[in-house]
Amino acid sequence: MARVVVDVMLKPEILDPQGQAVQRALPRLGYTGISDVRQGKRFELEVDGPVDDAALARIREMAETFLANTVIEDFNVKVES
């Protein structure tokens, strides 16, 4: 079995108030020098069978139509060994 990871992030131009709230809390906790935080989602998919080109193409389709809303989000698919 192989694991495929899909990362979903808000597009750069979309305001992320949750990330901003996290960033503003950092100095209070003693973590300085972090100028920006953006929050996203990570999906870990356990794939039955080989992760070949066809399987990856299906996963990309899944990410584009369901895991991410491409109006507001970008996604990235990578295979973990």
Binding site: I14, L15, P17, Q18, A21, F66, N69, V71, I72
Partner: protein
């Protein structure tokens, strides 16, 4: 013959009963529709009510959008059947790409619950014919993912084609004032190009009786509007 208006229930829907009641008060027959069915039971129009379908998991409306009932509704909406999406229903309509754009977490990160003043920008949709353009109304608003977003080109297109149907309006504090959530260009509701599909975040179905809310029953006109269109067909 009495018009039949379907009200869809997903797991996690909250406002289906209020919506059925609003439909009845407007003079139509409410028809309960279940998300796992495909059959629209010969309704003339459909309302997707508010709530938290599938717990808002993944994104609000993202899972409901793929229900068997939605597959039928998407097909019928493209053929001209009137569809109104309220709150979570609006989120479902954007996820289904029947309406452009998307909804994001409110800029203030708070759940906002209040009476909200709105300006009706157009009476040229299936759900706003009983309003006049420029009319201001007040109906309840209650959500945390209500920030309407679309790219600038889409926003310009919506404005140019008269498809911004409702905007958050400034007004007396008691009525709820201004933009509550950071929605771009103060947009509270939009329509598709044909005007049969409308989505908005505030809740007309909670403003149909004089005992409740502002008592002005501003929400009733949504439902009487669609009835007039159905009768004249």
């Amino acid at each position: 013959m009495t018009a039949r208006i379907g009200v869809v229930t997903f797991p996690g829907t909250l406002d289906d009963r209020d919506t059925q009641r609003a439909v009845r008060l407007a003079g139509a027959e409410p028809v309960a529709l279940w998300h796992r069915d495909k059959d629209l039971r010969q309704v003339d129009a459909v309302v997707l009510p508010g709530g938290f379908s599938y717990g808002d998991y993944l994104r609000a409306g993202a899972i409901s959008r793929f229900s068997p009932m939605m597959e039928t509704i998407i097909e019928q909406a493209k053929g001209g059947m009137p569809v109104l999406g309220i709150c979570n229903g609006f989120q479902v309509l954007t996820e289904a790409h029947l309406l452009p754009g998307a909804m994001l977490r409110n800029t203030g990160l708070h759940f906002v619950c209040r009476d909200q003043r709105l300006r009706v920008e157009t009476s040229g949709t299936a759900w706003t014919g009983d309003f006049t353009a420029g009319q201001e109304i007040s109906i309840p608003l209650k959500n945390i993912d209500g920030r309407y977003t679309a790219d600038p080109r889409t926003l310009d297109e919506l404005e140019a084609e008269g498809r911004v149907v409702f905007r958050y309006a400034a007004g007396p504090v008691a009525d709820g004032y201004g933009n509550p959530n950071g929605s771009l260009r103060d947009i509270a509701g939009i329509s598709n190009a044909a005007g049969n599909v409308v989505g908005l975040m505030p809740h007309p179905e909670h403003a149909v009786e004089s005992l409740i809310g502002t008592g002005r029953r501003d929400g009733l006109a949504f439902f009487t509007s669609v009835l007039k269109g159905l009768v004249s067909v």
